[in-house]
């Protein structure tokens, strides 16, 4: 009994010390991590909307480019980022929407950009994902993302939604999946379709 009590106290003390260390580390790094995450988000919005980025752009320049080119807007209850032509403020060049959902190992977050017709996909990025590298992690690679450009969010008979799959015939709303990462692809397809459904709802 005496031994159990000692073990209990030992565990409590060790646990508290570890927790203290972790809290300290988290607090010290928090501002840096936050700034990194924010810059990453802005970078992805700019990238998905095809804003021309000079190489090695600093976080400050990113913010400036963002402020000059992009307006935030709430559209059908979805946060959207509208890219205007800088000189003719009313002309919309593209619109990006934020999407998120759970992947296989953790949350997946990204942006989907549409052309002004709101039907054709301009591009897609994933700014947060922890899928298996070389399998599900491939969603963040160029070849996978590039497939989306020019695809439609509506199929031939007017149904909204896109398909990510290696099976079936080519269609205007279908992109190739990743073999070995079916779960990730299904989850990405689900979160994209949830967003697309919301966007396409008639006002």
């Amino acid at each position: 009994m005496k031994g159990s009590l000692y073990a209990l106290i030992y565990a409590a003390v060790l646990g508290s010390v570890c927790a203290l260390l972790l809290t300290a580390a988290a607090n010290v790094t928090a501002p840096y991590r936050q700034a990194n995450a924010e810059a990453e988000e802005i970078l992805n919005i700019l990238l998905v909307l095809d804003v021309n980025l000079p190489p090695d752009t600093s976080a400050k320049q990113l913010k400036e480019l963002f402020n000059n080119n992009i307006r935030e807007k709430l559209q059908n209850d979805v946060e959207s980022y509208v890219r205007f032509q800088p000189d003719a403020k009313e002309k919309i060049l593209a619109v990006a929407f934020r999407f998120s959902g759970s992947g296989l190992w953790g949350p997946i977050k990204g942006f989907l950009a549409l052309e002004p017709d709101m039907k054709t996909i301009r591009g897609i990025t994933f700014y947060e994902q922890v899928e298996t590298p070389t399998l599900g992690g491939e969603i963040a690679t160029k070849w996978f993302r590039d497939q989306f450009a020019g695809k439609s969010i509506v199929d031939g008979s007017g149904n909204v939604g896109i398909i990510i799959s290696s099976k079936g015939d080519p269609a205007p709303n279908k992109v190739d999946g990743i073999s070995g990462a079916t779960m990730t692809c299904d989850k990405v397809q689900m979160m994209l379709n949830k967003l697309i459904e919301k966007i396409s709802k008639k006002e």
């Binding site: 031994g3 073990a7 565990a11 060790l14 570890c18 972790l22 580390a25 953790g106």
Partner: protein, 222 residues
């Protein structure tokens, strides 16, 4: 965790590092009993993050940091740790160091942290770290335990670097992201970047390592 091979030199006269045991520990961990090439432990991360040399080096650094930190703490606490909960205590200590390193990467080396993804966090379950804490740090004084952590970390990092080097060179024709093998006469072999390439590179590395080290001294028959 089979580590029945205790450092042979237990009765040496006190000289050098920790009475001569320091160098022996260093050699044991980094070479003679290399965690990857001889014991074949913790190969999940070794296979997953070695598609580029830079990633391999950071991962090696992470393991050295965690191994040294956890070995030191486990060794300092070895006399007051209740035997029954020693393993959970070790895991707690290891997890603390791993998360500190992960947060540090996220704060100051964002791109690297993105590339390594979940594998930094998975060091918590790396059998090398746990194995060293359990098999060495629990029985040895702090300084010797630090040396053991460095040795095993180095042994891991070195093998990782070799695999990373060959995979990046053959798979992408690059070293540290710089083109080395020109595209005119060398077509990068994608296979080396993909998972099977890791197995090939790792297998060949183990083979060469054992070839250089020579045959295992024959065990006495019972």
């Amino acid at each position: 965790m089979a580590n029945d091979k205790q450092p042979a030199c237990m009765t040496c006269s006190p000289k050098g590092l920790c009475g001569g045991k320091g160098l022996l520990t260093l050699k044991e961990g980094a070479w003679a009993n290399n965690p990857l090439a001889i014991q074949v432990l913790g190969i999940c991360s070794a296979l997953a993050v070695t598609s580029r040399l830079e990633n391999s080096l950071v991962m090696g650094g992470a393991l050295i940091f965690v191994c040294v930190g956890s070995n030191l703490l486990v060794s300092l606490l070895r006399k007051c740790t209740p035997h029954r909960i020693r393993m959970i205590a070790e895991v707690g200590i290891i997890a603390t160091f791993v998360i500190i390193f992960d947060q540090f990467l996220k704060a100051f080396y964002w791109d690297m942290s993105k590339q390594l993804g979940p594998y930094v966090g998975l060091i918590i379950t790396n059998c090398i770290v746990m194995g060293r804490a359990e098999a060495f740090a629990l029985q040895n004084p702090p300084i010797l335990s630090i040396i053991d952590g460095i040795a095993n970390g180095l042994g891991y990092a070195a093998v990782l670097a070799i695999i990373g080097f060959s995979r990046e060179l053959l798979g992408a024709g690059e070293i540290f992201g710089y083109k080395v093998l020109s595209g005119e006469w060398y077509t990068p072999n994608q296979l080396m970047i993909l998972a099977p390439g890791a197995f090939f590179a790792f297998g060949i590395a183990i083979g060469i390592f054992n070839w250089i080290r020579g045959p295992e001294p024959e065990e006495k028959k019972p």
